[in-house]
Amino acid sequence: MARRSKIFDSFAEAVADIPDGSSIAFGGFAYPGVPFNLIRALLDQGAKGLTCITNGTGGAAADRMPDIGMLVENGQVAKVIAAFTAPTRASDRIPLTKFVDEGKVVAELVPQGTLAERLRAAGAGIPAFFTPTAVGTELAAGRETRRFGGREYLLEYAMPVDVAFLRAWKADSSGNLLFRRSQRNFNPIMAMAAKLVIVEVEEDFVEPGAIDPDEVHTSGIFVQRMVKIPPPPEGLWPGRRPERVLKS
């Protein structure tokens, strides 16, 4: 029996059934590995009351690609969990700030390593763990800490998510993924943490077996849906020279 293909024809189709209230993890750090095309499709799809898990929400830069800040501005977001919930430079403005200040969006600030480890824990069946990060800071106020070997650690909980949006470099049709360079970032651990994993892929799909099993970054068992990114201008390609991305 052939199972349904994981390859979808459009981003719209791939995100069509995401319900209101979903928690969605968005891969990416700076622009590499950010699922811009899936974010744009989600802006069109319109699901509301979302919890967005992401390193940052974007919107500080002038040349703006689809970002979590736009989902916020579009009224789709109830909560953001991120390592940046305000700009680091006082002079910058990000769209999230206004919504948080007005009480329309809840922002949970999480140190980046803790964010990564909470996602990894969810994907590893570990409900909670201890970390030295944030001990003695405002973020640890009133929370459970414990000493191991003379040092104080903070209890942190796994962060499972309903959906992960990823951007990968190459994929085979069974869902095995390769990320190129720092495109990898949060993508593999978000794939592990999610029930439904949707991936935008830069290169043409290859047959199963074309990627060496030793080189796979994310196994196809984690991946349910994939869409090939069309060439620009239809598809969104970050950075200045998408033609080199396609060839490298």
Binding site: P111, A116, T137
Partner: protein, 220 residues
């Protein structure tokens, strides 16, 4: 505007503290300028997004669009580089394998506390990887302008802003000098050319002890 060292000169002085074979993590902003300093030590640069062994920032037109450092700059890779995902990158950080992290900060106290993630009155903040790095790196170097734009000291007896980590800073580089937090005071190890000890004391919000072997920073 400011007296003493230029920004690149502050970074240059700090980079000379790096020892051969160290794994170094540079924060966004002034810290990344440390990688411009010509030093003859063999450093492995780690960045929080999983890049182990990055090289210089590439000029426009030569970027690899899949590769950025913690500040989003298009860096290169040195031979022997490796890429890991975010959980493994912070595994490296939390397990104490980073010999030094250099962080740009708002303020530092003479007890080694420092603050760099939340400005006064803000609703939220930008932590990034700074709390993990500050809590876990073997050494924490901080780099900052000695005073705020309106002339207030940023080297203090106690941090006023919410701290990033407590008691972790080992070396402080500012436009006025190189300092070490000593608990109840700062030790002035080296002083910027053309700056007097009195000027340093006047610009600092905690007692300043002058090293017996105080030297003037040699600019590159």
């Amino acid at each position: 505007m400011s007296t003493g060292l230029e920004r690149q000169q502050i970074a240059d002085r700090l980079a000379q503290e790096f020892r051969d074979g160290w794994i170094v993590n540079l924060g966004v902003g002034m810290p990344t300028m440390c990688s411009n300093t010509p030093i003859d030590t063999d450093i492995i640069y780690h960045s929080e997004n999983g890049v182990i062994g990055s090289g210089p920032v590439l000029p426009d037109g030569q970027e690899d669009v899949h590769l950025v450092n913690a500040g989003g700059q298009n860096v290169s890779l040195k031979p022997g580089a490796a890429i890991v995902h975010h959980a493994d990158s912070f595994a490296i950080i939390r397990s104490g394998r980073i010999d030094v992290t250099v962080l740009g900060i708002y303020e530092v106290a003479c007890n080694g506390d420092f603050a760099n993630w939340k400005v006064a009155g803000a609703n939220g903040g930008g932590i990034g990887g700074a709390m993990d790095l500050a809590a876990c790196a073997k050494q924490v170097f901080v780099i900052l302008e000695h005073a705020t734009r309106d002339g207030k000291p940023r080297l203090l007896a106690q941090c006023a802003l919410p701290v990033t980590a407590r008691g972790v800073v080992t070396t402080i580089a500012t436009n006025l000098g190189l300092f070490k937090p000593m608990g109840d005071r700062f030790l002035l190890r080296e002083i910027a050319p053309g700056v007097s000890v009195d000027e340093v004391r006047a610009a600092t919000g905690a007692p300043v002890e002058v090293a017996v072997d105080l030297r003037v920073i040699r600019t590159l």
